[in-house]
């Protein structure tokens, strides 16, 4: 805190389009002018307009004041405009304070006289707080236009193409031998009739041919480190050779894994998985008659035993049920807990299926399965015909039963969550759905997620996610640099006890512990001789300025530059 003599404060009264004029009468203005350190007083009608603010700054620059307290509405009204002030010539935006008298006094205290009193208290407090202000600078660093996409599935491919089209160099890493992923097994989309494998092949070809995309297949993910502008992915190729891939930003699109249901009776050959069904239909239905003794007449889809809240299975089952009726005239049953129709056009497909004779059966209790003369007997209670105390149930003798695979998180999720400090949700998918990050962003700047590693969704939804993630990366990289102000946490290495509390609590992985030499100069490499001690350091480009480290530090070594402990104390005080 500076001694108050050094501070010269300008009071700026914002009448907020005349709505506050009854408060700012002459007596009030006189009161403001008489407060300690106040050297000037300006009035304006609507400071939230950037142009007015610019004019104000011009006035302030000519005047004597070195800091200003705006008396008016919520700080949120002004701060966006502050941020766009030209820092080189103007007033430093951090030399402003806002006394929010409109929301905190005028609007919430009905009695005008009392509201005026409250206004005075608020402003007086702000004036005291203003003595603590100090200017904060900004920095920027160059970002090279390259990015890494992890995962060569359809989501990764879409993200890579979107980035590459925006002139960003992409390295696409795939664990599999070839790109394409699981979705490439699909031959139909429910809402796009006809062959889609050609669409997939086209996508794969585009990715491989794109001059801005480098595809690396058969690589095992071994680690990921770095920060925005300098992410490094460690990969191992089949020969065991390790290498590093660099990129300014990363999109995680490893997809999810699936575990086929083969326990107990589900291991029987008449139980198949949805991809097997897909393959059977892909060859025009030739394999539907492989069993010579008994042609496959009845096909039953069992849904919702696993993945009850994932609608992929339901969509595929309805799609394939229609195909089985339409092209192969098989009897088809779909047994599920709920028919999931929350996809574009699916209600109509559902209706079409029923019209074609597909029988849908809904259950509350899971169906029972038994082997009867080589067929599978599916026993189920249909919810709409069950009666209280009645044991009435349906028996469906099926030649083929399609049971869903369980969708599970990719095996890389845990490792990535650990090294990136990204939270895992309960089931092991990446990143809780935190509204603050609007699905595709993560708590680590420059890392985005899309598709099945976040949550298995339908193809369309995943592709939109891929594009949104690509949009995030494009936004970051489009300017060619990342500019940020230094309103972040700062650690005094001389006070740091290297207790590792701050890197452990930092939610944005913005703190590292490294060597430092005397004179509070951090040394990042090549320093050996006078090596002394390790101290924590904040990476300002990663820091969101939340202040968790500040309040956790046991030695009070950390300061939040735009809200110091002194300022909070003054706000708390009477």
């Amino acid at each position: 805190m500076r001694s108050s003599k050094e501070c010269r404060i300008a009071i700026v009264i914002d009448h907020c389009e005349g709505t506050l004029s009854h408060i700012f009468d002459e007596a009030m203005v006189r009161y403001f002018s008489g407060l300690p350190c106040v050297v000037s007083c300006y009035q304006d009608d609507n400071l939230s307009s950037p142009r007015r603010l610019e004019k104000l700054v011009a006035k302030l620059r000519k005047g004597k004041a070195d800091r200003a307290v705006i008396v008016g509405g919520s700080p949120k009204r002004y701060e966006a405009s502050f941020r766009r002030l030209d820092l080189g010539t103007g007033f430093n935006p951090y030399m402003f304070l806002v006394a929010n008298v409109r929301e905190q006094a005028v609007w919430t205290i009905p009695d005008v006289e009392r509201a005026k009193e409250k206004t005075k208290t608020i402003v007086a407090k702000r004036i005291r707080e203003a003595t603590c202000l100090s200017p904060i600078g900004e920095e920027k660093f160059e970002l090279s236009k390259n990015a890494i996409v992890l995962g060569g599935g359809v989501v990764g491919m879409r993200a890579a193409l979107a980035l590459a089209d925006a002139n960003i160099q992409v390295t696409l890493l795939s664990r599999a031998k070839d790109i394409g992923g699981k979705a490439i097994q699909l031959t139909h989309f429910y809402d796009r009739p006809g062959e889609v494998s050609s669409w997939f092949k086209d996508q794969v070809k585009k990715v491989k041919k794109h001059p801005n995309i480098a595809v690396k297949t058969s690589v095992e993910l071994k680690g990921l480190e770095g920060s925005l502008g300098d992410y490094r992915v460690k990969v191992e190729d089949p020969s065991g050779k390790r290498r590093e891939v660099e990129g300014s930003a990363v999109i995680l699109a490893m997809g999810n894994d699936v575990i086929p249901n083969t326990e107990g009776i589900f291991g029987h050959q008449r139980f198949i998985s949805p991809p097997q069904m897909e393959a059977m239909l892909a060859d025009g239905g030739k394999s539907l008659v492989t069993d010579k003794e008994r042609p496959l007449q009845t096909v039953t889809f069992i849904l919702d035993l696993v993945n009850e809240t994932i609608k992929i299975d339901s969509a595929n089952a309805i799609k394939n049920a229609i195909l089985l009726r339409e092209n192969h005239d098989r009897a088809v049953y779909v047994i599920c807990r709920d028919v999931k129709v929350s996809l574009d056009g699916m209600e109509k497909q559902y209706r079409k299926a029923r019209e074609m004779g597909v029988i849908f059966i809904k259950y509350d209790d899971p169906p029972k399965f038994s082997l009867v003369n080589g067929q599978i007997n599916v026993e189920v209670k249909e919810v709409s015909i069950q009666m209280r105390g009645d044991d009435y149930s349906l028996s469906i003798l099926s030649d083929l039963v399609v049971v869903s695979e369980r969708f599970v998180p990719s095996k890389d999720n845990q490792m990535l969550a650990d090294v990136l400090g990204i939270p895992l949700a309960e089931e092991g998918f990446l990143m809780d759905e935190n509204p603050q990050f609007a699905r595709v962003r993560t708590n680590r700047r420059g890392v985005f997620i899309a598709g099945g590693c976040r949550y298995p969704q339908t193809l369309d939804e995943s592709l939109v996610e891929a594009e949104a993630a690509a949009a995030g990366v494009t936004e970051l990289l489009s300017q060619g640099f990342f500019g940020y102000d230094l309103a972040v946490a700062e650690i005094d290495p001389a006070k740091c006890a290297a207790c590792l509390t701050c890197p452990r609590v930092c939610p944005h992985s913005a703190i590292v512990v490294e060597r430092y030499a005397e004179g509070n100069v951090y040394v990042t490499g090549g320093y050996e001789k006078d090596f002394r001690w390790k101290a924590a350091r904040v990476l300002p480009m990663q820091c969101y300025g939340c202040g968790i480290c500040v309040s956790s530090c046991p030695t009070k070594a950390i300061t939040l530059k735009h809200l110091t402990d002194d300022e909070i104390s003054l706000q708390v005080g009477v």
Partner: protein, 223 residues
């Protein structure tokens, strides 16, 4: 490092009763790292004490300070000016720090604000586990780097007791059996034969306290 916990505030209040002006001295070394006695805790404790005394109608003035290390006389010396102003010192360093302060400022009372608990390792932020009892006769080379003195509830030196079950100690509370850990570790490093080595009964002689406080004396450093 040394781990400690703060004493309950009411206990501290109790022994501070006769004093109206004290020095609250923290230590920025081990006890700061375990969030018990660093600069932050000095502030919190000071605030709590002041409030409690205000409430009781008996105000207390508290000077605050935090040493680099309270087990070093030179650093404690820096507190001298403030110590001369007060009636007593409340030290929230480990027991060593409290005693250093007591020795340096021999004419005023010095009180401990912490319970020094053990020497341990950080399991995760906020969780510390005991690892060493400073018994003075280390056997870690025989036990694969796992100390039976600090980790076995019975401090057994030659294998587990009958209560070890599925790798767990019979005292429950999810405490692993130290001897199971020793076995596993020796197996991993291929030194299972070490299990057969008999660790002799501990000589609670020179290492123990029957000759008074233990001291370490390094002739080469002493000059």
């Amino acid at each position: 490092m040394i781990k400690a916990e703060q004493k309950p505030v009411d206990e501290i209040l109790d022994f501070l009763k006769p004093h109206r002006k004290i020095l609250l001295a923290g230590c920025n070394a081990c006890v700061a790292v375990c969030h018990a006695g660093g600069e932050k805790e000095v502030g919190i404790l000071s605030s709590a004490l002041k409030m409690a005394r205000k409430k009781a109608g008996q105000k207390i003035e508290i000077l605050e300070d935090c040493s680099t290390r309270q087990c070093e006389p030179e650093f404690v010396q820096e507190l001298k000016e403030k110590a001369e102003e007060v009636e007593a010192v409340l030290s929230i360093a480990c027991g060593v720090g409290v005693q250093t302060v007591a020795r340096m400022f021999s004419d005023i009372p010095v009180y401990p604000g912490l319970n020094t608990t053990f020497m341990g390792e950080t399991d995760e932020l906020g969780v510390w586990i005991e690892r060493c009892q400073a018994c003075g006769n280390c056997v870690l080379h025989v036990t694969g780097g796992v100390c039976p003195v600090a980790r076995c509830a019975k401090q057994l030196l030659n294998g587990p007791c009958g209560g070890s079950q599925d790798g767990e100690c019979e005292i429950g509370n999810d405490v692993p059996c130290a001897w199971q850990q020793i076995y596993d570790r020796l197996k991993t490093i291929g030194q299972l034969h070490r299990m057969e080595e008999i660790i002799p009964v501990k000589k609670w002689g020179r290492e123990s306290r029957d000759k008074g406080p233990r001291t370490i004396s390094r002739e080469d450093l002493k000059l």
